[in-house]
Amino acid sequence: MKPFELFQCCSCAEAVELLSQYKNKAKIMAGGTALLNQMRQKYITPQNIIYLKNIPELNQIIWENDTLSIGAASSIRDLERNEIIQKEFNILAQAAHKLGGYQTRNLATVGGNLCNAAPSAELAPALLTLGGNLEIVGRHGKRRVLIEEFFLGPYRTVLQDDEILTEIRIPKGEARARGTYVKLGARNSMEMAIVSIAVLFALDLEKGIFQDFRLALGGVAPTPIRIKAAEEAAKNKIPSRDLIREIGQIASAQAKPKADLRASAEYRREMVKALTGRAITQTLKESGYEVEKEASH
C-alpha cells in the first residue's frame, strides 16, 4: 500500500477537525475491511487516514429509555452477540451474522458497513425495516437523518466532506414484531449478497392479520431500499399464500436490479420474488401462525 499519515483519534471532535482540514485527501477508518482492500486495488489512495476505533463513545451499545444506541465503530461481532439486539432487534443480529466471515466480523464495523454504502450493504435492509436513524457530526455540529435518507447511490451517502457517522439509533418497536433476513450468495459465507431481503412484522393474532409490515431489499437497486408498495399491500391483511405471492411480486417489480459478475438482473428479480415469500413464511412460522391457502374474505 502507498504510504499515508495515520491519525489515531481519541475523540469525535479531533476526528472532525482533521477531516475538515484534509477533506478529500483523508479517509475515515474504523475496521478497515473495505478500505484496505480498496486501497490495495488502488481504487483510492488517501494520503491521510483518520482512525476512529479508539474513540470510546463510538464503541458503546446502550439500551436506555426503550431506545438502542449503537456507536458507529462497534464491531459486527459486537452487534451479533449483543443480548439486547438478539432479543429485541433479532433481525439485526441475523444480518450481522451474515456479514463476511468469522474474522471479518471481529474487525468490520456497523458504521463502516453503512458509510461504504454498497448497494448490498449487509446491515442496511434490516436497519431499514427497524426504522433506525443516524447521528452525523461535522464542523457545524450534529444532525440526524433517517436511515432511509442516508444512501444516495452506489457507495454514496449524505455525509459531507467534514462529517462522520457517530451513532445508529433504533427505537423499540412493536413488542411482538418478528423478522427474518435472507441473504442469497453463491457461498454460505464470505460473500457479498446477490440479493438480500429483510422482512419485519407483527401479527394481530386475534384478527389474524399483518400489523405494521416492513420490507427492505439489498443488492437490487443503486441503494438498499424499502418497498413501501409491498408494505401497503400487506398491512391489515390476512397472511394467505396468495397474499405472500402478491407481496413477492410487488417487491420483484419494484426492484431495479442490474446485472453484474455475480448475477443477471432477471435472476435477481426472480430471487426477490421467491426469497421474499420464503422470508415471510419463515417469520410466520416462528410467530406460530399457520398460513391459509386462500384469503377467507
Partner: protein, 154 residues
Amino acid sequence: MIQARLRINSETYDIPIEPQETLLDVLREKLGLTGTKKGCETGECGACTVLIDGKAFNSCLVLAATVQGREILTIEGIGRAEKLHPLQAAFIERGAIQCGFCTPGMIITAKSLVDEGQERSREEILESMSGNLCRCTGYIKIIEAIMSVIEKTK
C-alpha cells in the same frame, strides 16, 4: 516512522514501523515470525489469522500501528514441539494437515473458539471456521480435530 511497542506471544517488541505496514507484514518481515501465512491479502482466506486480545483477526487487514499495547498471539505462541497445544496434537492425530499452509490459521481461529469454553455443535464450528480456507483436506479432519478438543474442554 512510528516507534511502535508490540506485545506478541507475551513478549514486548520495540520496533520502528510505517503507518501503512500491516500486522502481517510486521510479523513476517520485521520479526521473522513466519508461522502466520500470507494467502490472499484481502481478508478472505484466513491464513493470516492471529488472536488479538483473544479474538481472531485477519492480520493482513490490521495496521500494526493500531494494535500497540494489545496482546497478540501467533501460532508460534501457542505450543512447542515438546509441548503441543491440544489443538496441534489433535490436528496431527487426526491427519488434519496436508500441505500445512492453512494450518496455523485454522489452529489460531479454533483456539479462539475453544477458549470460549462453550459447547458447540458441528454447524456452529463450521460457521466459526468459515473464514479459514483449505485447498487440500476437504475440511473433514480439521473439523473432527476441533470438535474433539471442544468435547474435551467443555
